[in-house]
């Protein structure tokens, strides 16, 4: 597989402050790559450099064989950008916005009109196309914001936190359309601070914090790299003593740890599923009733916690 984007030691400083601190990664053609990181991690700054808006302090990025610093115009023809903050003319209608931006990307005539219709369909705003954007809900505006980035069918689409602050319905529509676009062959660089989105969408994930790329790989690779155990959570009845159960479970060979909080026992094991049957047997022996069971696989949240010692969302 071929890399469509290669980033090498990219640095951006604002005065003394280093917003992006020497990050390197590649994105393969046809991939959805997520940059996951908390507020201020440097995601937007990275995208701004890759989309030729900011000039990097040092380092280099190449998109489709063109340097972002030396051949910005060639790069701009390959990329689409969905900025974190809405970038629309609110006094124009959705259709007028699409028409204007399409023309700025060099589309015109029949091609443009056809693309506008397709995009309106894609973002689910055919009915509202004639209304001014300022009359739209937040979610609808976000969808137009995305639509603008799709018009010229970019090879590589940058989406900077496209789901921030919107209703679940719009979010679902956006996530689904990202997957659909990817199926049609578009490569996507997606930034988010929602672990779930990164998990749902991405082939590979880069975790950013304080301007640095602190981990990079598929989800499986990342979680393995952390060596996180799975967690089995047993909810016991009100009248039962969870501490007794915990003591009993600690004697099992596979159990590394068993903690009690309120009426639950959290058991750390390499494989939660395998531990379930023995744990239930022990509980029965003790006459303790188990109400329900949860199993947690290791997730990116845990990876982030492990690497930085802090939660992804504060």
């Amino acid at each position: 597989m071929k890399a469509i984007l290669e980033v090498k030691q990219l640095v951006k400083k604002y005065g003394d402050f280093t917003a992006v601190d020497g990050i390197s990664f590649d994105i393969m053609e046809g991939e959805i790559f997520s940059l996951l990181g908390p507020n201020g991690a440097g995601k937007t700054t990275t995208i701004s450099m890759l989309s030729t808006l900011y000039i990097p302090t040092s380092g280099e990025a190449v998109i489709g064989g063109h340097s972002v610093t030396k051949e910005p115009m060639a790069v701009r023809n390959l990329i689409g950008v969905v900025p974190q903050d809405l970038a629309l003319y609110e006094d124009l209608t959705a259709r007028e916005n699409l028409a204007f931006w399409g023309q700025m990307y060099g589309l015109s005539g029949k091609t443009l009109n056809a693309r506008i219709e397709q995009v309106l369909e894609q973002i689910g705003l055919v009915d509202k196309a004639k209304d001014r954007v300022k009359t739209y809900s937040g979610g609808m505006k976000r969808r137009v914001n995305i639509g603008v980035g799709l018009l010229h069918k970019p090879k590589l689409l940058f989406m900077d936190e496209p789901t921030v602050g919107i209703d679940p319905q719009s979010r679902r529509l956006i996530l689904d359309s990202v997957k659909e676009l990817n199926k049609q062959g578009m490569t996507v660089l997606y930034t988010t601070h929602y672990m779930e989105e990164a998990e749902e969408l991405s082939d590979r994930v880069g975790i950013m914090d304080n301007g640095k790329l602190i981990a990079l790989g598929t989800q499986a690779e990342l979680t393995k790299q952390v060596g996180e155990m799975e967690t089995l959570i047993l909810h016991v009845g009100e009248n039962d003593d969870p501490e007794r159960l915990a003591v009993a479970l600690r004697s099992l060979k596979m159990v590394r740890k068993a903690d009690v909080t309120d009426h639950t026992v959290s058991v750390i094991v390499p494989e939660a599923e395998q531990a379930l049957a023995p744990a239930v047997t022990r509980a029965n022996e003790l006459g303790i009733k188990i109400h329900s069971v949860d199993m947690r696989e290791p997730n990116l949240e845990a990876v982030f916690l492990h690497l930085t010692g802090k939660a992804l969302r504060d």
Binding site: S48, S51, T52, L53, M73, R76, N77, I79, V81, P83, D85, L86, A87, L88, Y89, E90, D91, L92, E96, F100, W101, Q103, M104, Y105, G106, S108, R132, V148
Partner: protein
């Protein structure tokens, strides 16, 4: 090119998406022009300043002075008896009164100066203008007289005159030919004499039509700064600069669109001035086109430069209204510059509005053509160049 057209189109929709824009584009300028012009004009009305004249000499020379005054674009001589003229003046029916003394004839003139008596209302703009007009006429006659005097002296060196009558006859002939020479070259005289004798010509309709046009065209053009702030605040500028559209295309489209709209606006206001107020905008259409374009470019450039200093759209719109008004006031668009002290008159030459107004009045009141207004147009273009260079060099997406 297509992109530039699209940018202009987008700006046009945005601009006129609120009806209040029409208020600034046409309604307010028309109302102000109309009010300050003092109502409508009629095609044949003589709106020159009434100048009471008392001719005590009844000589060919005094008749000549009156005839010259009658040709003036500024004053309309009204010859009356002394008592009648004085009562008119007392009644404030006229702001200036000129008494031509009995000794005003070419005989006295050949040997001595003649003192004319000009009375005027204090602090009266029309009176000041009339005074300048009278001075200009006398200056022209005076120059002719001194030429004629010289002619007599020179002639006397070559031959002696048979009699005093002969000498007077020779003087009169020389005076007449000097006058006709000067009359046939009025432009040269204006240029050579420059500001010192250039008569102020004040015509409320022309001044209002030109002044209000400049005021209301400068305000939205300075407001280009607001368009830049708007695009920066909305993030659309950042988005544009990640598209294959260059910064140059964006700037050109935005500026060109605004300049074109200002030309439309000016054409409408000029039509109003010409048709309703009977202002002589049709004097020289080519010169008018040059003045409109260069004024618009200077204002647009100022807006472009300010656009790199303002932070928000609100700031920009406040600033452009304030700056546009102040510059128009100081530039003589609301009151004639001649009302200001000389120092101020020189200071305000740093404002493009001053030059724009001067150029417009050159066309309207001083009958200048393209060549005549070229220096003014040149100054406006220089303003445009300086402001554009600063603006474009400083231009940023955030």
């Amino acid at each position: 090119m297509k992109k530039i057209y699209n940018i202009i189109w987008k700006d046009t929709i945005l601009r006129f998406s609120s009806l209040s824009e029409l208020l600034f584009f046409l309604i307010l300028p028309l109302i102000f022009t109309f009010i300050l012009a003092g109502g409508t004009g009629t095609q044949n009305a003589d709106n020159r300043i009434r100048l009471l004249v008392v001719d005590q000499a009844q000589s060919p020379l005094s008749a000549q002075i009156i005839a010259e005054l009658a040709k003036s674009a500024t004053v309309r001589p009204d010859v009356l008896t002394l008592s009648k003229a004085e009562s008119e003046f007392q009644a404030r029916n006229a702001s200036v009164l000129l008494v031509i003394p009995a000794d005003c004839d070419s005989q006295t003139l050949r040997t001595a100066a003649i003192v004319l008596d000009l009375r005027q209302m204090p602090d009266n703009l029309n009176a000041q203008a009339a005074q300048r007009a009278v001075q200009a006429v006398l200056y022209r006659l005076g120059s002719a007289v001194s030429i004629a005097k010289n002619a007599v002296t020179e002639a006397e060196k070559l031959r002696s005159f048979a009699s005093e009558l002969d000498r007077q006859a020779y003087f009169d002939t020389a005076l007449a030919s000097a006058q006709s020479l000067m009359n046939s070259a009025p432009d040269r005289e204006n240029v050579v004499m420059g500001g010192t004798i250039d008569p102020i010509q004040y015509d409320p309709r022309a001044n209002s039509s030109a002044g209000q046009m400049i005021t209301w065209v400068f305000i939205p053009l300075i407001g280009i700064s607001g368009a830049f702030a708007y695009e920066r605040q909305r993030g659309t500028l950042r988005r544009l600069l990640t598209s294959p559209t260059g910064k140059g295309t964006y700037l050109l489209g935005t500026i060109l669109g605004n300049v074109l709209w200002s030309l439309v606006q000016m054409t409408l206001l000029v039509s109003f001035g010409a048709l309703i107020l009977k202002v002589h905008w049709a004097n020289n259409p080519a010169a008018l086109a040059v003045m409109m374009t260069t004024s618009a470019l200077a204002a647009a450039a100022l807006g472009t430069m300010l656009g790199t200093f303002v932070k928000t759209e609100a700031q920009a719109s406040g600033l452009s209204i304030m700056l546009g008004m102040v510059m128009a006031l100081l530039g003589g668009c609301w009151y004639p510059l001649e009302l200001f002290p000389a120092v101020v008159q020189n200071l305000v030459k740093v404002l493009p509005t001053t030059w724009a107004m001067q150029g417009m009045l050159d066309i309207l009141l001083r009958g200048q053509g393209v060549i005549g207004i070229l220096p003014v147009a040149g100054v406006l273009l220089a303003f445009a160049a300086v402001f554009f260079v600063i603006g474009i060099l400083r231009f940023k997406y955030e």
